[in-house]
Amino acid sequence: MSAAAPALDNVDVTKVRSRNRRPGESPYSPARILAFAALVIMAGIWLGPIVWAVATAFKTETDAAAGELTFIGESGPTLQAFESILSQGNIYIWALNSAWTSAVITFITVAISALAAYAFSRLQFTGKKWIFVAVIASIIVPPQALIIPLYYQMLAFNMVDTYWGLILPQVVMAPIVFILKKFFDAVPIELEDAARVDGAGRLRVFWSVVLPLSRPILGAVSIFVFIQAWNNFLWPFLIINDTLLMTLPVGLQTVISAYGIQYAQVMAQAVLAALPLIVVFLFFQRQIVKGVATTGFGGQ
């Protein structure tokens, strides 16, 4: 992979070099201790709310309402809040909906973006320059400004309150086309030419030469697209009214007010909703961090 992989893949924030320790300097110099203390305090502030939310989810409602800064309530830890959420809520269905619609959005987005990016990078066609400019210029259009006409269009397509109405408007991501085109531009053309001399057509070259080379970048953008789709709120919130079709963020919103003051239950719900991505993150931290850093930069 290394020889053919263009620059974008070089960014690896998961291998931080230790550079601030001069030769012969003690690992316990005052500057390092100070930096370490600052890190601990900031990490504490950033992890605090999550730890606190998890602790509260294991309290009884009475202990949660007491509002004291203790991690374990007077009645000891309990699964009550989780039990009541799981027995009365649709949280399973919402999690399932979120998982599969995000997967479909990711697949369609990456597939159509990769095909288009390859055309912009390697193929000749009339108006190529201007079409590419139009696609890139569309990055400035905020999706929030399109909700009204888009909803109107979904009414006309009969797609309000359907999975297709939820999925399709989310598959156009011009920054992904841009990132992939930049990547394809840097793939040595000789590799493709060799395959074409052997009689392979364009689609075949794309499928068996270009795509295998692009696996890291495709993985990176897929992670990015999936996180965006999983967390998207506004569009799913507008287009879905049926409780059984809702994604996790939208479903949770409908019960924020319903459980208003039962904070142990609210936190149990937040913890359950956050759990899938947190587990995935713990296992794939390196890939996710790399994916977001790479894609975030490409979008510049």
């Binding site: 690896d12 288009a116 193929l123 009339t126 079409i131 259009v141 909700i147 936190m267 931290q285 975030g296």
Partner: protein, 322 residues
């Protein structure tokens, strides 16, 4: 798009074998045929994306302009052309102006800490101190959580009676605050939650940029006797200029699109000091059913984004030039 239909009639099937390529004999076919075949292949690659692009970006963008000049209702009623009346009404609607003011104010007070905290975090993590896995986890994980989860956690932290925020205030001898129920403070509370939520993204961008600064520059500086602070100010920070431009532009454009957490943390309600412009689009269209009017506000919002984007590009590129 017209090229596709024109070419389809002219070219025989089996485009895979018709195309021109190095070493492949094109004898028996004219150059024009081969070129048309190439066009056809290119459009086959482009078609799925361009179709979606046209349906879900270009068409709504154009149709929105038309809608903004009608009195279309979500109920289906109305729809007659009324020219620029919606825009005239929007510009004299005080809620449009307060929501623009709130949006811009939020952008200012969120962008500054979101860039500064991210920079400090990245500089600290980049020292290579032990615990890398934990630092990344702490700073970046909130970014992965859905807005609803963030809102639930922070509404509870900001709860006036039992929230941790007031608990901390009173511990230090301050008066408790109704964080989300007090005008002017509500948007600041939303900002605090937002900074906590999204700073991890900017942190990663900064960390990646720091990792790209070649090690030998530090080695050379150390040989010349430059201390750690000297290295920070004469090597590290100057080289973070380009990434800071990227982070600033991305962050400001993201902050201008505020909706999710503001809407959720105000529990679907709103105050005149917290309602962002996207929420007013939503309210006008989906609560008030006025699609025409909401479209006009959408275009005012779009204009705001473009103006801020152009302003930033001009200012930042001029500074870069100097």
């Amino acid at each position: 798009m017209t090229d596709v239909t024109a070419d389809r009639s002219a070219v025989a099937p089996e485009p895979e074998t018709v195309e021109e390529g190095p070493g492949i004999s094109t004898a028996g076919r004219t150059r024009g045929q081969a070129r048309r075949a190439n066009q056809l292949i290119a459009w086959a690659f482009l078609a799925p994306f361009m179709l979606a692009f046209f349906l879900f970006v270009i068409w709504p963008l154009a149709h929105g302009i038309y809608l903004s000049m009608t009195d279309q209702s979500l109920t289906g009623a109305g729809g007659s052309f009324i020219g620029l009346e919606n825009y005239a009404e929007a510009l004299s609607d005080p809620v449009v102006w307060t929501s623009i003011r709130n949006t811009v104010w939020f952008t200012v007070i969120s962008t500054i800490p979101l860039v500064l905290f991210a920079l400090v975090m990245a500089l600290l993590v980049n020292t290579g101190l032990p615990g890398q896995w934990l630092w990344r986890l702490s700073f970046f994980m909130p970014f992965l959580l859905a807005s609803t989860v963030i809102s639930q956690i922070w509404m509870w932290i900001f709860n006036p009676e039992i929230g941790v925020a007031n608990e901390i205030l009173t511990t230090f001898g301050f008066e408790p605050i109704a964080w989300l129920q007090t005008e002017h403070i509500d948007l600041i509370s939303i900002t605090i939650a937002t900074v906590w939520w999204t700073v991890g993204f900017n942190f990663l961008l900064y960390l990646a940029a720091l990792q790209n600064i070649p090690e030998h520059q530090y080695e050379a500086a150390a040989v010349d006797g430059a201390g750690r602070w000297r290295q920070l100010f004469s090597i590290t920070l100057p080289q973070l200029g380009p990434v800071t431009v990227v982070v600033l532009v991305l962050q400001a454009l993201a902050s201008l699109k505020l909706f999710d957490q503001a809407y959720q943390m105000m529990n679907g309600g709103s105050s005149d000091t917290s309602r962002p412009i996207v929420q007013y689009i939503f309210e006008a269209g989906f609560v008030g059913y006025r699609f025409g009017y909401a479209s006009a506000i959408s275009y005012i919002f779009f204009a705001l984004i473009v103006i801020v984007g152009i302003f930033q590009m001009t200012v930042l590129s001029r500074r870069k030039g100097n």
